[in-house]
Every structure is written in C-alpha cells, then in structure tokens.
C-alpha cells in the first residue's frame, strides 16, 4: 500500500461514510471517477461501523477471558512427571485437564493429563491408583481412551495420563450432526460394546455421562475416564450416608443411579443405569430428571423414588417436536430406556451387551425383551406366578424343534426325478456359471442362469428341508445370486439391497446347517465366504460397524479350522479388508492389530516359498499399510521401520526385474512414504529433512525413468510432478532459493500440461494451488514481486474454483485463505 493510495482511499472512504447509505453509490461513481480498484477498495471497507468494533472487541475479550482463567495455575511450559504441558483442555470440580507431550519422546505424542486439585484426599487417591493401575492399564479397546500413566506431581498432587482424544461429547455430536434416531441408536450401541468390554475385565466406570463419551470426526465414540471415578471417590461401600452428600457433590447427578445416591454398592448395573440415562438424553434432548436446585433431598427423591417420565412423554414437553419422533420413541424405545434405568439394579439389563442387543432387535424390527415396567413385575409376583408356565413353554419349544427335525428326516425322498432336477440345477449353477463368469457382458445371462437354478433348488428344498447337502447347495446358490446382484468387488447388477438379502438367506441356511453339524468344514468355509461378502457390501453401503462384525465372524470361522496355506491366505485377505473398514471408522488401533496379523501371516507364507514374487508383493504392501497405520497412531519411528522393510523388498524386486513398471512404481511410493515420515513439512514427521530429501530425490529419479520409458504414461508424469513438488517443498526458506524456484517451475510446468488434458482432476488442481503458492513465495524471496503476485493470482484463481466446486472441503479453503494472506502481504510490502 503506497501512502498516496492510502490517502486517496481514506479521503473517499471518509466522505462516503458521511454520506447517507442511500446516496453512497452515486457518490462513489463520482468520486472514484472510473478507478474501479479504488471503488472496490472503499466499498469493501464501508459497512456498519459497530460491526467492525464488535469484531475487535470480541477478539480481545475472549482472549483476556481465557488468560485470566488460566493464570490461576500457570502450568503451560511446565512439567508434570515426564510430560511437558502445552495447553489446557478443561477445568472442573476435581481438577484440571491439560494437554501435554511426553518430553523424552522423539515424536511427541499428545496426551491428556488430569491433575487432581489440592484439597482432594490425595493419599487415598495415590494408594488407590497404585492398587488399580495394572487393571486400568490393561484396558485395551479401540473405543476406550487408554490410561497411560499416573503419579504424583512435584507439588504432591496426583495425576493421571490418558490418551488424548479430539472429539465432541456424544450429546453435542448427535445434535451437531443432526443424527436420526436410528443413527443415534447405532452410535450408542458402539458405546455399549466398549462398556461391555470393560465389564468383562471387571472394571466399572461409575461416572458415565455424555461428556465422558467423545465422538471423533469419523463417528467413533471414545470413552474417557474408565475407572478414574473409583480412584477419585471415597469408597461408597464403607462410607454409609455420611459420604452421600460428598459423593453427590463430586458427580453429575443427572446420570447417577439410585444405588450411588444412597451410597450403596456400585456394580456393572450402575453403568447400565447411566447408559440408560445417556440414551434418554440422546433420544429426547433432555435429562431424565428435572432438577430445580440440585439439593440432596431433591436429588434423592427424583432418582430413588419418582417414576422417570417415558422418553416419548419427555419429548412432548419440547416445543415443536414432530409427532413422528414421538411415535418413534413410544413403545419399544420407551421400554428399552426405562428398563436400563430401573431403580432396582437386579431388574435392569443383565449386561451392556443385552442392552445393546435389544436396541439391535428394535432396529431390525424384531420383538424386544424390554417390557413396560408393570406393578406385577415390580413386586416380583409375575415371575413367581408364572414360574411353572415358563418352564412348560420351554419344554414345548424343545419338543417342537425335535419334532420338526424328525418329521423332515422321514419325509426325505430319493426318487429319480428329484435327483435329476437337482443335477441339472447344479450343472447350471456351477459349471455353466463358471464358464461364462469372465465373459464381458455376461451379467444378464448369469443372472438368468442363477435365478432359474435357484428356483429349482428352492422347490426341491421345500420337498426335502432336512437334506443337509441340498441345503448346502442352496446356500451356495444364494451366495452366487448375491454376487451377481451386487457384490461390489466384481461385476454386478448394482442392487446391493437384493444382494444383502440373498447373502442373509445363504447365511441363515449355513448357520442352521452348522448347528446340526458344527465341525463341517465345507459349511464353515461357505459361511465364512458369505460373511466376507456381507462385509464387502456393507462397507460399500457405509454400514461400517456391521461390515466389521461380518468380517470378524468370517475370520473366526476360518480360524476355527485346521490351518492350511490357503486358509492362512484367506485370513490375511480378510484382515486386509477388515483393516480398511476399521480405518474408515477411525479405529486406528484395531486396524493396526488386524494389519499386523495379516503381516505376520504373509511373513509365514513368504518364508515357506522365499522366491514367490506374489508373496513378496503381499508382504511389502502389508508392511506399507502397517507403516501408514503407525503414522496415524503417532508412532513415527515404528512406522519408518515398516516402510524401510517394504522398501527393502521392493528394491530387491526391482533389482531382479528392472523393467517391471509396477514394481518400480511401488518402490517409488515406498520412498515417498519414507520421505514423508522422515521430514515432510506438511505431515507428522521425525524432523530429518536431509533423509526426506534423499528419499524424495529417489522418487524423482524413478518417476523420471518410468515416464522416460513410456512418455504416454500420464500417471508417471503426474508422479514426476508430485515428486518434484515434494523436493521443492523441502528446501528451507533460507536455503537454495534458485533450486527451489527451478524445481517448483518444472513441477508446475508438468502439472499445467496434465491439467489441460484432464479438465476434471481436482486432486491435481489442489496440488497446483499449492505449487503456485510456493513458487510465488520463492519469487518473493528472490525479489521478483511481479512474478510472485502473478503466481499468487494463479493460485487464488484455481483455489477459488476448487472451493466453489466443493465448499465443504476444509483443506482447500485453508490453502486458499493462506494464499490470500500472502498475496495481500506481497502487495502491501514494498
């Protein structure tokens, strides 16, 4: 900004601001006299004055607020145990939670530290922690935040170190994401399974509440503070009523169970109650009890003595609740929530799993086990009165099942016609199907074939429901029908709903066969296959947690059989599919575990046949995926080791077969991974810039040679440009500017060529926004302001188009804002 220009802007601005808004436009026409730049500048400054003032005010006051709130314990930059505090996460009744990093760690993994405040019973907490730390540390579940460490600070205050979770409290997450009732239920079931896991390890949470359940961006809930409440609170069993008020003071009464309020024994049923109260809030947006003054008598009355309103009634209190939602809650969901929240611990769900299963039944339209809490139930009379009839019913069911089995065996026929039809159907289904499977355009024919055969088999099965081998054929037929209808990993008709139904039929037939003959390996293999396909399709349709369930069931089946090389390969294959879904769910730890299993299987297989190149490729890609999962979970050193192993194998493959382009490209990608983790400035890295540069340079060399071998290979060209971009990006600002300029120029030259040929490639354009920006930065350093501004403008033009095309893409937006800032600076500074 030149002083002259600024004076000119000021003059027009002040005069225009004095003008009433109505006449401003005409005034500006006149005052700017065709200088559109001036006019745009002044117009962008004119606006409501108080708006400008409030922007400045709120910037200042929010920071001063945060400042005084933190000054009481100025711990940032200080040390707690082996950890360096870098920020404050929150404060509360029991102390504060800080963000910290382990000071002696190479990769500075983030942790949350809960520092108990002065005045708490610190001796008690410390001794309790010593007694329980082993149990708590052993709690390893992808949806439970891990307790990593604990101890006493220099000031003698106890602290707990936990995995740092960056997520939203579950209630807020549901509101912000406007989740439907069903989606809330599905999310809640994930919480239940984590609680179930802890309960199986004999750990009760004791303080479950929405703020202790954070949901990650990916929609995965993480439970915090498992077992911590027990450490912080006086032992309720020993305390009697004297402690009651103290306990209540420390906990949120909204989710507390009657036994906690009364100071009675806390069991897993206590957590079930809190889970019920949380679900209540997730479904209705309201807390189960409406406290006015939170006095202990009021709390005790509400929690221990008053009937809780049904969720469907509570939601009617809210203004503008659609009748649809009320209807959705009334009935099953009312009963499910209130069953979990029953005042007597023994009459709630037996386990978090049972609770979760009842929700699943509701979701699938099956009858639930939760019933309205009747007076008869409550007094226990029902069970007593019906004890004999319940036993009688059980007997009846058993005899019916036996009877059906017996009848079908008698009805089994083996007449010739039956066998002929069966052979015909089978030959269609298996021989002909296999023959045409790989023909292009054979999809409709395959479908017709499968359908007709299926009809025959179906009618035969009706005649011989007890014939196991016929049932087996039927299950396989359904599986094939499913494949044709919508198995996403092969050519299909795109009807995933129909495919899921067919697979479900195959599954239920196989399962009933397995009930009769639990060790039948053919049935097991077939069923595992069906689970694997269900996993594939559900992952495609986005039902990730169900997908995971099926993959896991498939894995369990394969694992239950005698291991052969084929089965091992099958397990590794399933692991890889499962890991992909786990990554999408944000379950990095789970994915890591799964991928590591695949890796060890490939290691065994490769050891058995050391020169098998396919096995080597498998193992190198397994190392590579374990590497990237380790990057995700923050263990960069271990990630590097895995990447190195992948690269070593690929180097060997390339050496043995130098003209093999896919090998070379794999190797290039491997170098890229190593460079990234060693020192990419835009990714988490180990700070080894030189190492990164060496690897990126190898990338460039390979990309160049692949492209040299086949100049029509667009992908190689694009690889080349990206490799150059990475090299350029590694040259420090005060480093070899000429080299940086040359590298970026070469990279952008290639990208421009690629962009001409491929008008729709957003990824490429994103890279271009970045490279133009960096190029401009470099021109600025070189003192060539005109070239810098030209390149910033190119970056902005492309960036704006990208943001316009996808306004939700945060990364593009951030890139663009950054460019605007640099651009403005470049213009003003001179």
């Amino acid at each position: 900004m030149t002083p002259d220009r600024w004076r000119q802007i000021e003059e027009v601005f002040q005069a225009a601001a004095d003008h009433p808004p109505a006449g401003r436009s005409a005034f500006l026409d006149n005052a700017c006299n065709g200088d559109t730049g001036l006019r745009r500048e002044v117009e962008s400054l004119l606006g409501p004055d108080d708006d400008a003032e409030s922007v400045i005010h709120s910037a200042i006051s929010s920071t001063s607020e945060s400042l005084v709130n933190e000054q009481s314990e100025p711990v940032i930059g200080k040390r707690i145990g082996a950890y360096l505090v870098t920020g404050v996460i929150g404060r509360g009744g029991m102390g504060s939670v800080y963000l910290a990093v382990r000071d002696d760690d190479q990769y500075q993994k983030k942790v949350a530290i809960k520092l108990v405040k002065r005045g708490m019973d610190t001796d008690f907490i410390v001794s309790r922690f010593r007694a329980e730390r082993q149990i708590l540390a052993s709690l390893e579940h992808p949806r439970i935040a891990r307790l990593l460490d604990g101890g006493t600070s220099e000031d003698g205050l106890p602290y707990f170190v936990m995995e740092y979770i960056d997520g939203k409290p579950i209630a807020q997450y549901c509101e912000d994401s406007k989740l439907s009732i069903n989606d809330r239920l599905k999310l809640f079931r994930l919480v239940c399974s984590a609680v179930q896991y802890a309960h199986q390890n004999l750990i009760v949470h004791r303080d479950l509440k929405p703020s202790n359940i954070l949901v990650l961006k990916e929609g995965v809930p993480k439970l915090l503070d498992f077992g911590i409440a027990k450490l912080l609170k006086a032992d309720l069993n020993a305390s009697g009523s004297a402690h009651t008020s103290n306990t209540l003071r420390l906990m949120t009464p909204d989710y507390a169970s009657p036994e906690q309020v009364r100071g009675e024994a806390v069991t897993t049923a206590t957590d079930i109650y809190s889970l019920g109260a949380i679900l209540y809030e997730l479904l209705t947006g309201q807390k189960p009890h409406q406290f006015k003054n939170y006095s202990s008598t009021e709390i005790e009355r509400a929690i221990c003595h008053t009937d809780t309103d049904r969720p469907s009634v509570a939601i009617s209190r809210a203004v503008k609740t659609p009748a649809k939602i009320r209807r959705q809650l009334a009935g099953d969901l009312d009963n499910i929530v209130l069953m979990a929240m029953r005042k007597e611990p023994g009459r709630r769900y037996n386990s978090a799993d049972q609770f979760s299963e009842d929700i699943r039944r509701h979701l699938e339209g099956q009858p639930v086990i939760a019933r309205k809490d009747t007076i008869a139930y409550r007094t226990g009379k029902f069970a007593r009165r019906h004890k004999y009839s319940i036993a009688a019913a059980a007997l009846l069911v058993a005899s019916l099942v036996g009877g059906i089995v017996a009848t079908t065996y008698q009805a089994r026929r083996a007449d010739r016609r039956f066998q002929q039809v069966r052979r015909l159907a089978n030959s269609f289904l298996f021989d002909h199907y296999e023959r045409i499977k790989n023909l292009p355009g054979s999809l409709p024919a395959r479908e017709a074939l499968v359908r007709t055969s299926l009809e025959y088999l179906d009618s035969l099965a009706g005649e011989a429901a007890g014939d196991a081998s016929l049932q087996q054929e039927l299950a396989e037929a359904y599986r094939r029908v499913g494949d044709v209808q919508g198995h996403v990993l092969s050519g299909n008709l795109g009807n995933t709903t129909a495919a899921l139904q067919s697979y479900a039929k195959a599954q239920s037939i196989s399962e009933s066969l397995l009930l009769r003959d639990p060790e039948n390996e053919r049935v097991k293999t077939g069923l595992a296959d069906v689970h694997s396909r269900l996993g594939d399709v559900l992952s495609y349709t986005g039902e990730l947690s169900r997908s995971v369930e099926h993959y896991k069931k498939g894995l369990a089946l394969v694992r239950s059989m005698t291991p052969t090389a084929e089965r091992r390969r099958n397990i590794a294959q399933l692991d890889r599919l499962l890991a992909t879904v786990q990554v999408r769910m944000g379950d990095t730890a789970g994915a890591l575990e799964t991928s590591s299993e695949a890796l060890s299987i490939y290691e065994i297989l490769a050891a058995a046949s050391p020169s098998d190149r396919a096995a080597l490729l498998d193992i190198s890609s397994a190392y590579s995926s374990v590497g990237s999962l380790l990057v995700r979970s923050g263990d960069l050193t271990a990630a590097l080791k895995n990447y190195q192993k992948a690269v070593a194998i690929r180097e060997r493959l390339t050496r043995e077969d130098p003209s093999n382009i896919p090998y070379a490209r794999d190797l290039m990608i491997g170098y890229g991974h190593m460079g990234d983790v060693l020192g990419s400035p835009t990714k988490p890295n180990l700070g080894d810039r030189a190492g990164a540069l060496a690897n990126y340079t190898k990338m460039v060399t390979i990309a160049e040679s692949i492209f040299g071998a086949d100049p029509t290979d667009k992908r190689a060209l694009s690889d080349y440009a990206i490799a150059l971009m990475r090299v350029g990006n590694l040259i420090p600002e005060d480093g070899d500017n000429a080299k940086a300029l040359a590298t970026f120029s070469k990279s952008i030259g290639i990208m421009e060529r690629l962009a001409d040929a491929d008008q729709k490639n957003a990824r490429l354009r994103m890279n271009m926004v970045f490279v133009y920006h960096r190029l401009a930065d470099r021109y600025l350093i070189a003192g060539n302001r005109a070239a810098a501004i030209r390149n910033y403008e190119k970056s902005i033009a492309l960036g704006e188009a990208l943001v316009k095309a996808d306004p939700n893409d945060v990364e593009n937006r951030r890139l663009l804002e950054d460019t605007y800032r640099q651009y403005t600076k470049a213009q003003i500074a001179h």
Binding site: R5, S66, N69, Q71, V97, Q827
Partner: protein
C-alpha cells in the same frame, strides 16, 4: 525501599520530561503488575464472568500510580504503555495456545463440562495483532489509536488529548481503522490488486 506507587509515579514524570531510561524501567513494572492482576482475578469471587482487559489496566493504574498526584497527564502516559503491554500479553497468550493446539483442532476433552478454551477465538486475536502491525506499516497513527482505544480502554476524548488531535479526528481515524481491520481479519480477496 520505595513503594511501587511512588516509584512508578516518579518514573512517569521522568519519562514525560524526556528521560527514555525511565520508560525502560517502567515497562517491566507495569507488565508484572498486569500479569499479577490477571492471575489474581480468578481467585476472587466474581459474580459476572466477563473480564475486560481494560479493567485490568485500570486496576493496575490505581495500584501503581500515586493517586495524590495531579494524575491526568501521567494517566494518559501510563495507559499508553499499558495498552501496548496488554496487547503483548494477550497476543503471547493466544499464540501459545495456537502453538499448543496446532493441527489438533478444538479440543473437547472435558472435565465436568468446564471448557474455557476456544481455539478459533485465540486465532482471532493473533489475526488482529497481525492486521494491526500491517496497518502500522503504512499508517502508524491509526494503529496507535486502535491500541489505546481497544487494548487500553481510553475514551475518544482521552485519546484526543494524548495525541493532541481533535475528538472528531480520533472518531474518523477509528472509523477507517476499524473498518480496515475488520476486513483484514476476515479472509477474502478484498484487498485492491495493484
């Protein structure tokens, strides 16, 4: 030992007389007092939870400067220094937060629902500081007026006195400066291409 109140008052007088060393001695005293006040703020019972940075400066002034002196001129000087220091304290605070949270987004790890930190808001102050420095690059006076007004909490009249310009001019300067800052803090390609 001299009481801080007398010491600060004397330093202000010395500085006004043209003794620049006095300013060097004054700055850490005011800085310490501001930080100390900020610290003690939380421990006191507060009915309202909003705190203005300017309230801290006023309090520091009352504590540090001998109120028996004809205080008007020293007051303006004091506020001039304090506004600058307050800005520095707040910016340091916001930046340290930004550094701590870099890459992490807004943390939502809560203990008893008490969340005090907001990442975006801390960024706002850093943006304001950047913009102010940019403004000072081509219009030092406006940047100074903004500092006195918003960080120091001086009234328009006090600023006019301090800078020896008319009240109307202060108003107009603030009007453009605020508009320019607002625009600079809102991302967008609004600046004129040259």
């Amino acid at each position: 030992m001299e009481s801080p109140s007398n010491e600060v008052t004397q330093l202000l007088i010395d500085w006004k007389k043209g003794n620049h060393a006095a300013l060097d001695q004054l700055t850490p005293l005011v800085y310490q007092e501001l930080r100390r006040l900020a610290q003690s703020y939380l421990r006191r019972e507060r009915s309202d939870h909003t705190l203005q940075a300017t309230a801290l400066i006023h309090e520091a002034y009352v504590r540090l400067v001998d109120q028996g002196q004809p205080a008007w001129e020293s007051r303006v000087h004091f506020f001039g220094i304090a506004a600058q220091l307050m800005r520095q304290i707040l910016v340091d605070h916001a930046r340290s937060h930004r550094a701590a949270k870099r890459g992490g987004g807004e943390p939502k790890f809560s203990l008893d629902e008490a969340l005090v930190f907001s990442h975006e808001r801390s960024s706002m102050l850093v943006d304001l500081d950047d913009a102010l420095r940019e403004l000072a690059g081509f219009d030092e006076r406006k940047s100074r007026i903004v500092e006195l007004r918003y960080f120091g909490g001086l009234s328009i009249e006090e600023i006019a006195e301090a800078m020896e310009i008319s009240v109307a001019t202060v108003g107009r300067e603030l009007r453009l400066a605020s508009a320019w800052l607002r625009r600079a803090m809102t991302p967008g390609p609004q600046s004129e291409a040259q």
